[in-house]
């Protein structure tokens, strides 16, 4: 995926003016929030479950090498093949190589953020291989030549008129704004592709090392199709998704299902262990599991950022984030968006490249309350901000207009007499710059702040009122 993180300020400002986008994201967010609350309220001990979920992730990551080896053995025993890709380029090369070996002309894909991370679709197109996104939202986004804007609802930013127009133009079907009819168009178009495709590519929600099993959640059925109909199934998945046992699976299943859309279970849960066995009439002949690092082992080694690898990709943090709901997924400039997007984009991209991203947060903490594995997003965001200032590896560009006031303020704050003096100086300037109550001049950032707010007035400070207050007896 192309890197657009540095455009976040500009894109965010544009998106903020888009009231339709905001309405869509707000409505969707509220709905998902309500579903999640309903789903969690059915549990006996939701907080206890979140703690257990976090512990499953902690333990699994602490034991990752052993689990990966166990996983590899089990997948291989079941007749699958395991590949190890250290970065995006390697992953692309492995998958393209497989496509070559199996004579693949058409690929059907389930929704996978990882394939976005590695820019797989573009690599396929360059080789002349046809790739079809099959999740309805992803299909829409692909036809529109855009990128997904929400972890679980990729086309949430598109209204039905836009979809109707898109299908009409790209698929040559009559214009209709009826969602059912539009869905049936997609069903028919993609059914043909499923039946004719040579290779199915998916991501994965979990890997259970105990038996070498890939776990896939969905509601549409496109993942079952992609993993059952073509000759070859390739699954691309991050190394952090491994857990050891089916018991761990049980905990995460409950958390992910309920956090994402308040469901007890997704419509289809596929547990895939190797390719088809002798005698089976359908299913892929070959199963290839590509384990991708792409920076995750680096994050693993980072004491503070490690917990972002716990993410289950449920989307709950997006649904409650006031910033995300104003700026939408595309503003974040890379694969991941919302609070987890700030973390993952900043971590997976070269250190310091996402300089403004950590400031796209009010640190309100709504995300922490809903995260199924209790990731402390604000804490990690603050750490990013610190590194951008203090860490030689991460240092961002120096912004004098930010540094100077901050350092000056800090300097005078440890000198109380100066601090008070500065306060009275400010009031003097105020009298000069705003003699009749209207500010004649303000520093640019403050003036911008004051576009829709009255800029506050320096009053006679509390400290100078105290003596009188004390003696007057209140």
């Amino acid at each position: 995926m192309e890197l657009r993180v540095e455009e976040i300020k500009q894109k965010a400002a544009e998106a903020a003016r888009n009231e339709v986008l905001h309405q869509t994201l707000s409505t969707a967010g509220d709905r998902f929030v309500a579903l999640r609350e309903a789903g969690f309220s059915q549990l006996n001990d939701p907080e206890g479950l979140r703690i257990r979920g976090r512990k499953v992730k902690e333990r699994s990551l602490a034991d990752l090498p052993r689990l990966l080896r166990l996983l590899e053995k089990k997948v291989t025993d079941a007749g699958g093949v395991v590949h190890w890709a250290k970065d995006a380029a390697e992953a692309r090369s492995i998958i393209l190589d497989l496509a070559d070996r199996y004579g693949v002309k058409t690929v059907v894909k389930g929704k996978s953020m990882m394939t976005e991370e590695i820019g797989l679709n573009r690599a396929f197109s360059r080789k002349g291989i046809e790739v079809w996104e099959t999740d309805l939202g992803e299909f829409i986004v692909q036809l529109a030549d855009e990128i997904p804007s929400h972890i679980i609802a990729p086309a949430i930013h598109k209204n039905k008129e836009e979809v109707a127009r898109l299908f009409c133009e790209k698929l040559g079907v009559p214009y209709t704004v009826n969602p059912e009819e539009l869905t049936m168009v997609a069903r028919r178009t993609l059914r043909e592709k499923f039946l004719g495709a040579d290779m199915g590519i998916t991501g994965g929600n979990m890997l259970v090392a105990e038996t070498g099993t890939l776990v896939l959640f969905e509601n549409e059925g496109n993942i079952r199709m992609s993993t059952s109909l073509p000759r070859v199934h390739v699954a691309l998945i991050g190394i952090e998704k491994v857990v050891e046992s089916w018991d761990d699976f049980g905990v995460l299943l409950t958390l992910l299902s309920r956090s994402a859309a308040g469901q007890k279970m997704p419509t289809y849960l596929s547990l895939i262990t190797g390719p088809r066995k002798p005698g089976e009439r359908d299913g892929p002949e070959a199963f290839h599991l590509v384990l991708l690092d792409n920076g995750r082992s680096r994050i693993l080694g980072d004491e503070v950022f490690r917990e972002s690898l716990f993410c289950l990709r449920c989307g709950a943090c997006l649904n409650v984030c006031p910033v995300y709901k104003r700026i939408g997924g595309h503003s974040y400039g890379w694969v991941y968006s919302g609070p987890i997007g700030i973390l993952l984009n900043s971590e997976l991209l070269p250190p310091g490249s996402a300089r403004d991203l950590p400031y796209a947060s009010t640190l309100c903490g709504a995300c922490v309350e809903v995260c199924p594995v209790m990731i402390d997003h604000p804490k990690l965001i603050l750490e990013f901000r610190r590194r951008l200032v203090e860490d030689p590896v991460w240092k961002g560009r120096r912004v004098l207009s930010r540094i100077v006031p901050i350092k000056i303020y800090a300097w005078i704050s440890v000198r109380p007499v100066l601090f008070r003096f500065a306060g009275s100086m400010a009031r003097t300037f105020q009298a000069l710059l705003a003699p009749s109550g209207e500010w004649k001049w303000l520093p640019k950032a403050v003036a911008r702040w004051g576009a829709e707010r009255r800029v506050p007035w320096f009053k006679r400070p509390f400290s100078s009122r105290w003596k009188k207050l004390k003696t007057s007896g209140k």
Binding site: I140, K160, E220, G221, W246, D247, G283
Partner: protein, 276 residues
């Protein structure tokens, strides 16, 4: 534990080795067991990152929500599952007599204009006399024996008929396993999916799943290539959050629960009233 022991379980180690060799030839050119481009480097990088972590490792068996993975007794009513399945906008029927079965199937065939149905090659379906019952209604029912036919026929059929390894009462979830003769496409491609479930195959809640899966994994042949858990029918809300059914998979699921007393081998003989 596969229902009805319909194919000879591979108990002998030698059979399993043969099976693995057969699988490896299916996979085509077999290089080394693992394609390890940077495997060892990756593993050592991970190990290096984890140095100094004092957290406990490995998994802890979760046993406090101890609902047994045992099957619930036959005489427990189907009510909870019925409620769950209907809440998902699907259909659940308990059948006590073959006449009930026939009537339900007649309604289904009529409602969905079923001309062609595909079914699993499964002894329960055979003993229930599905072929005869549906045949009497003018439905062509096929059990594809050749691979090419599975997908093509399932894609053409209006109805796919399977059994289920288990039904989880708490959520109305059907658990299906792929086996020889039990294709994935049957419950996926046709617009309507019908599953039969016996009362001896019911689990109380989702907490039973880990133990169930593990029990299958411990069998000599291990887990099948796919275990599919089906809860409701295919749906999406990707267009303006409007819920639409049947986007890729079936748009409707019928679950027929056989009553404990149901005489599986007694096919309903069509009477004058029930004949189409």
């Amino acid at each position: 534990m596969v229902q009805e022991a319909f194919f000879q379980p591979l108990e002998k180690a030698e059979d399993i080795r043969q099976m693995k060799r057969a699988m490896s030839s299916i996979n085509g050119r077999r290089e080394s067991r693992v394609v390890s481009t940077h495997r060892d480097q990756m593993l050592s990088r991970i190990e290096h990152s984890l140095e100094g972590i004092e957290e406990e490792r490995g998994s802890k068996p979760v046993d406090e929500t101890a609902s047994a993975s045992e099957w619930i007794p036959d005489d427990i009513p189907w009510g909870e599952a019925k409620k769950e399945i209907e809440a998902l906008s699907d259909r659940f029927y308990e059948v006590k007599h073959p006449e009930d079965m026939r009537r339900i199937l007649e309604d289904l065939v009529r409602e969905h204009a079923v001309a062609l149905a595909v079914r699993w090659e499964h002894p329960l379906l055979e003993r229930l006399g599905i072929d005869r019952i549906l045949g009497d209604m003018g439905v062509e029912i096929r059990v594809p024996s050749r691979e090419e036919d599975w997908k093509a026929l399932s894609a053409k059929a209006q109805l796919g008929i399977t059994t289920a390894e288990a039904l989880v009462m708490e959520s109305g979830t059907l658990v299906l396993r792929t086996e020889a003769g039990l294709g994935r496409s049957t419950s996926l491609l046709p617009p309507v999916h019908l599953a039969f479930i016996q009362p001896s195959r019911r689990l109380k809640d989702l907490a039973a799943l880990p133990r169930l899966i593990r029990s299958w994994a411990n069998e000599p042949q291990g887990l099948p290539s796919a275990v599919t858990l089906i809860t409701g029918h295919s749906c999406t809300a990707d267009i303006e959050l409007t819920l639409v059914s049947g986007v890729h998979g079936p748009g409707l699921v019928y679950v027929i629960g056989l009553s404990p007393g149901y005489d599986v081998d007694n096919e309903a003989v069509p009477t004058a009233e029930h004949q189409v």
